[in-house]
């Protein structure tokens, strides 16, 4: 990965009727990075990808790839290649002919073409499959053919539109790991469209979360998970407890907030926003159930378990905080010797101010 942007999207908008499918999106994608566009169905991910690949034309704004403005450049002359959601394997051509499809125009000669095709098939672990017909392949193998067919062109950017959505869970997880390994191996910039937050967190160097045709947040997986900027992003990525709060004061040491059921806390380093009402988020795994009377934490509250969900490796508890109506979700790993508590049991929960997230700080100014 370098710090050189390979794709620059500037204020790109697309309207279908009066509805914006994209409402002025700007972003830079760096050379060699694994970049994901993540968002719910209909938020404009495919639309943006198709504009980068040249299949759709923006109504406004510009896209440049490797420093060249792409306005008016058709898909067949862009340094991008695409892996389609349906894979779009040519049904009348063998696997090898599919992979060699784009090479034909380069007139490399038979020997070189064959070498490159075999190299590409080896890259996706399909050695020896060149002679197969597409209908003789499984879903996962078809996807690999689509990958090989795109990679053999040695594009500057590989675009992938939900390439894993047609695979079953097991195969999907396997392909996610392989795709990540492949991207590191070839060093090509990957732009992945997905609506699966785990997939995005697992694979990406950076993620852009989109809602309604705009980018809500652009961050690393860790940054996205730890410091979501809005309630919408926070609830889209992982689980989050939302608590009402008042910002009492903001000074250089941080923001002092009064949180419902938890009391007052100092959020170090928070300097955006104004005094007023706000939303505080805390992840279920940042709340720790304290076993035994001597265990302690920076801050502690007492509560009663109202529900228990057992997932094998972890357990989710719904805990009602004493003297309030507030129920929070607590996630605990089921490590050796830890009992599974049941509804009705009383418990103590530890937490720390550093794991609180101030959400929509600008919203709270209103």
């Amino acid at each position: 990965m370098s710090n050189q942007p390979i794709i620059q999207v500037r204020d790109v908008a697309k309207y279908y009727g009066d509805e914006p499918a994209l409402a002025g999106v700007s972003l830079d994608i760096m050379a060699g990075e694994f970049f994901s566009l993540l968002g719910p169905s209909g938020c404009g991910k495919t639309t943006l990808l198709r504009m980068i690949s040249g299949f759709d034309v923006p109504d406004r704004g510009s896209i440049s790839i490797d420093g060249v403005d792409m306005a008016g450049v058709p898909p067949n002359r862009r340094p991008t290649n695409m892996v389609f959601q349906s894979y779009a394997i040519f049904p009348h051509l063998s696997v090898a002919q599919n992979v060699a499809y784009g090479l034909k125009r380069l007139r490399l000669g038979r020997v070189e073409t064959k070498r490159r095709v075999e190299e590409a098939l080896a890259l996706v672990a399909l050695e020896g499959y060149g002679g197969r017909q597409p209908h003789e392949l499984s879903g996962g193998q078809r996807q690999r053919v689509a990958l090989a067919r795109a990679l053999v062109m040695q594009p500057k950017v590989l675009l992938l539109d939900e390439p894993m959505s047609a695979l079953d869970k097991k195969l999907r997880e396997q392909m996610q790991t392989e795709l990540r390994r492949l991207q590191r191996a070839v060093g090509i910039t990957f732009v992945l469209v997905t609506h699966d937050q785990e997939e995005a967190l697992l694979m990406s160097d950076r993620i852009a979360v989109m809602f309604n045709g705009s980018i809500a947040q652009l961050d690393s997986p860790e940054g996205m998970y730890r410091r979501p900027v809005s309630r919408q992003v926070a609830s889209f990525i992982g689980m989050m407890n939302f608590l009402r709060a008042d910002i009492a004061s903001i000074d250089p040491s941080g923001a002092t907030v009064n949180i419902e059921a938890l009391g007052s806390a100092l959020l170090p380093g928070v300097s955006v926003g104004k005094p007023g009402s706000a939303t505080i988020g805390i992840r279920p795994e940042m709340l720790t159930m304290l076993y035994g009377d001597h265990a302690t934490a920076e801050r502690v509250f007492r509560g009663k378990i109202v529900d228990t969900e057992y997932y094998g490796d972890l357990t989710l508890y719904q805990v009602r905080i004493d003297d309030t109506a507030t129920v929070v979700t607590v996630s605990m790993r089921n490590t050796a010797g830890r009992p599974i508590l049941q509804a009705g049991d009383r418990t103590r929960i530890g937490w720390g101010a550093e794991s609180l997230v101030l959400l929509d700080p600008l919203e709270s100014a209103k």
Binding site: F55, N76, N81, M82, A88, F90, P91
Partner: protein, 283 residues
């Protein structure tokens, strides 16, 4: 619940009578084609191949056959080319008033051929054109193109648009994509369209009757021979051969059409007999 649906007896009887009514006249053809008698009447009087020899020796018939083959071959190519253009445009491009335009192309399917024949004749005479094989070809292209559009429309509509995009994405031009992806995938449909158009044109009588000049087509020739009772058994033999050929061509076409939709969409053709229905509706 799991009792399979069975047609009531009356309905089966009706279907049998219907089929008999439809095909009995055709079944009479081979009967009299091989019958050793110059009179078309029962009872049969013995087996002979003599009427086929008669066909072999009639040179006027050969000229008519030659004309019909030329017309049918040219018509099948022209109407299939027009069909490719129209069906492709209808399948891919957002044309304003598309449904109306396609409907307009399909109109000759339901127009009485007498009307088409007479109108074309009037127009051609007004234009001062003389009647020839070409005028028949024009008329036949008019009635065959709707069939081509229907067959090819199915082929193009079922094609996954992302295949074309994938081809463009891999650096191929629009023309190259058409040649390397669209044509091969549509090839069975194209062949089917050519066979159907050929068969329709080869058998067509009314338009040919109005628009031929001095060069009769095969059906027109047959019609002209019906005035001579002695020629009847020969015409029976000829009719028998034509029926055989039509069946062979249409069966091949249907086979190709199904193969094409299997190739393109990976499953069995829906509306299994799209053009058979249309074709029988036209007779």
């Amino acid at each position: 619940m799991d009792q399979s649906q069975r047609a009531p007896g009356g309905l089966i009887f009706y279907a049998l009578v219907y089929l008999l009514f439809l095909y009995a006249p055709i079944l009479l053809l081979p009967l009299f084609a091989f019958n050793d008698s110059a009179v078309i009447a029962l009872p049969l009087s013995g087996f002979t191949l003599r009427w086929f020899d008669v066909l072999w020796d009639t040179t006027a018939l050969h000229a008519a056959l030659y004309n019909s083959l030329i017309i049918a071959a040219t018509t099948s190519v022209l109407s299939t080319c027009l069909g490719i253009l129209a069906a492709r445009a209808a399948a891919r491009y957002p044309i304003p008033g598309k449904r109306g335009i396609v409907g307009f192309i399909m109109v000759p399917l339901v127009l009485p051929e007498v009307i088409v024949g007479i109108s074309l004749l009037v127009v051609l005479i007004q234009l001062g054109m003389s009647l020839s094989l070409w005028t028949v070809i024009m008329g036949h292209v008019l009635v065959c193109t709707p069939f081509s559009v229907a067959i090819l429309g199915a082929a193009f509509n079922n094609m996954d648009a992302s295949l074309e995009e994938a081809s463009m994405d891999l650096g191929e031009s629009a023309l190259g994509t058409f040649r390397r992806i669209i044509l091969p995938l549509a090839a069975p449909g194209i062949l089917a369209s050519m066979l159907v158009a050929f068969t329709i044109s080869f058998d067509e009588f009314i338009i040919a009757f109005f628009l031929t000049g001095t060069d009769a087509t095969l059906p027109v020739y047959i019609w002209s021979q019906l005035r001579f009772p002695a020629r009847l058994p020969g015409m029976m033999a000829l009719g028998f051969l034509m029926v055989l050929m039509s069946f062979a061509l249409l069966l091949t076409a249907e086979y190709l059409r199904r193969r094409s939709s299997r190739l393109i969409s990976g499953d069995e053709a829906e509306g299994a007999s799209l053009f058979f229905d249309a074709a029988s509706g036209m007779r």
